[in-house]
Amino acid sequence: MTAALRFDPIRLPEKCEQLRKEVRAFLAEEIAAGTFDPNKPNREDTDAPEFSRRVGAKGWLGMTWPKKYGGQERSFLERYVVTEEMRVANAPTRRFFVADRQSGPVLIKYAPEHIKMDILPRICRGEVCFAIGMSEPNSGSDLFAAKTRATKTDGGYLINGTKIWTSSAHIADYMIAIFRTSPPTKENRRHGLTQFLVKMKQPGIKVNPIGQITGQYEFNEVVFTDFFVPDDHVLGEVDGAWKQATSELAYERSGPERFLETYYVLTELVRAVGSNPDTRSAEGIGRLVAQLHTMRRMSVSVAGMLEAGKEPVVEASIVKDIGTVWEQQLPHRVRDLAAFVEETASNRETLEQQLDFAIKTAPKLTIQGGTTEVLRGIIARGLGLR
C-alpha cells in the first residue's frame, strides 16, 4: 500500500476543557463590555489593540513558547482550544494572530538571542503586530520567483522592491519577509532567498492600502526603497530560506481557522430554522454539521501529531484543502437552505447581512496561505506522484 495517511482520534486532554471555560468566560465579558459584536464579522473595528493586550495578559499569546521569552510552555492542544474559541466568537484577533501562529515560532528558531529577548515577550503581551512578506506583484504561489532585492552593504542590507497582498502591513510593527540575496542557480531555482526580520513604520517603507471585494482594507502593497536592515535581522541561512519553510507550514495550514472562517452563518441558519425544522432544512444542516465535525476531528488529529513532534505536512495540506473548500461552499449552502426560512424569523436580517459578507469573503479562502492547487501538488507529492 502506498499512502501512509493517518488521522488518529486524538482527544483534547481534560486541562483543555478547563481552559476552554476560561476563554469562553473571558470572551463573554469582552462581548458584554462592547469590545466586539460576535454577530458582526464584517465590522470595521477588527484592529483592537486593547483587546490584544488583555488576551496577552491572560497568557494566551505565545502560550507554547519557552517561559524565558514570556511564553507559558503549554501544549499545542491548549493553544488549539484558545484559537478555535476566538474564531467561533468572531473575536478581533487580527493584531496578534500572525505573530502568535507563525512569526514567533520563526523567531524562536532563527533569530539571535537578543532579538528574541526583545520581541517575543512583547508578542506575548499582545503589544506587537506582525505581517508576512511573501508575495510580490509577479510572485504569488511561485514563492521562489521573488525579486525584491537585499543588497549587502556595511553592517546590513539595503532592500529594494515591492511586496503585495500583505495582510495587516498598515498596522504591523514588524514583518518577516523573504528577499533575494543571490540569483537562483541552475541546479536549484529555490536558492538565493533569505528570510529577514523587518521593523516597520520607518522611512524607506511605504505601505499602500488595497481595497478588497468585501469592502475591507486588510491587505497592502509594501514598497521598499533603499531600506536598511541590519545584519542581526537575518533569520537563518543566507540564500537558504527554502530549507526553512516546511515544518511551519503544518501549523499554518491545519488550524481551526482553516474551516471556521464562515462558521457564523451555520449558527444563524440553525437559529433561523428554529427547533422544529422541515426535512429539507434538517438534512442540509445535518450534512453540514457532519462535515464540520469531521474536519475538526482531522484538524485536532494534526494538532496532536504536531504536539507529538511529527511533521504532518501532507495531512495538514489535506486539512487546509478540504477545510477551505468547505468554508468557501458553506455560505452558499446556507443560502440554499435559508431560501424558505420564515419571513418572520427573528434573526433573518442578521443572517442576510452575514451571508452577504460571507459570500464576498469566500473566494479568498482557497487562495490565502497556500492555494488549493499548491496544496494538491503537495498531497500528490506525498502520494508519490511527483
Binding site: M1, T2, A3, A4, L5, R6, F7, D8, P9, R11, R20, E84, E85, V88, Y263, L266, T267, E268, V270, R271, V273, G274, S275, N276, P277, T279, S281, A282, E283, G284, I285, G286, R287, V289, A290, Q291, L292, H293, T294, M295, R296, R297, M298, S301, E315, I318, D321, I322, E373, L375, R376, G377, I379, A380, G382, L383, G384, L385, R386
Partner: protein
Amino acid sequence: MAESDNIVVETAEKIFADLADPQTINHDKSGSWQAPLWQALSEAGLPLAWVPDDLGGSGASLADGFALLNAAGRFAVAVPLAETMLAGWLLAQAKIASPEGEMTVLPASPRDRITLDADGALSGRARGVPFAKAAKHFAVLAHGKNGVSIALVDAGKGRIESGLNVGYDHSDTVTLDKVQPVAIKAAPGGVDQTQLMLMGGVARSLQIAGALEAMLDISVRYSNERVAFEKKISKFQAVQHNLARLAGESAAALAAATSAADAIANAPSFDDAVYLEAASAKIRCAEAAEKGSAIAHQVHGAIGFTIEHILHRYSLRALAWRDDFGSESHWAVELGKLVALRGADELWPLVASR
C-alpha cells in the same frame, strides 16, 4: 494506510492476504474461496470478536473489533464478517450466547420494525438485510409491550426474498411471521434500535474508509504504470489533483470513522456527543464513497469499468454500504433535527466537546 497495530488486525490481514487475494477471488466465478476464508476467520475467532468468552466468542475489545472492520474494508471481501460481529455484539448485550456460523442482524434499516407479541413470537419485515441468505441465525431487535427485546432466531424460520445490492452482495428481505425464537431476553437499558443502527452505521463507515484506502492505493499504483501521451498519467497535473482529492476523501472517511469508533469504544452511554460522532461518520463516509469512487474510476478509465478489474470490488461495495443501517440522508435529517432541538448556541459546544 494504517499499519496494523494490534494482533486481531494482524491476524485478519494475514488471512485476507492468504485466502482473499482480490485478483484471485475476482477471477473465481464459482465463489469457491468463500468457504475456506470463512473457516479460517472462524478458527481465528474473528466473526465472534465482540462476544465475550463465556458467551462463545473471543472477547476482543470494541476498539479491536472496529479496527478489524476497517481492515476488512481494505479487502472488501464478500463474507458476512461485519454482520456476524454485529449480531454477536447485539446478542451479547442481552447475555445470549452466540452459535457457530454466519449470522446477520434484523432489522438493518431504521425504517423497519420487528414486533414481539404476547405469545413470545416475532413478526415483521426487514428489508436490505445484508447476507440474510448466507446466515444460519439472525440476531433480532424486537419491540414488544414491555419494551425492547433481543432474540436469536433460526434463519430457516424466516421467509427470505433474495436480492443483491449494487456491490453484488446479498441484501435480502426477511419476513418473520409469528416465529418462535431460539432464545429471547429483554434488552438492557439504553440498547435500542437507534443504538443498533448507529453501531451498524459505524461498522459500515469503517468498511467504506477501508475500501477508499484500497481505491486510493490501486489508483495511485495504476497512474504510475499507465502511459498516455508518452508520459505516465501520474505526471499530468489534472490526474495528480484528482488523486489528491481522493486522498482527501479517503482521509476524511478514515478520520470520521475511527473517531466514531473511538467514541463508542470509550463511551459509557450513547449520549448526544456519541450520536454526533456516529451519525457524522455514516454521513461523511457515504459522501466520501460517492466522490472517492468516482475519482478512482476516472483515473482507471475503461479498464476499471470491466468486471475483470478489481476496482469495482471496492467502489461498488463502498457505494452499496451507504444504504445499510440508515442512509446518509436518514442520518443527516436526524442529526439536523437534534442540532435544531438543542438550539443554535449549543451547536459549537457540541462540536467542541469531541
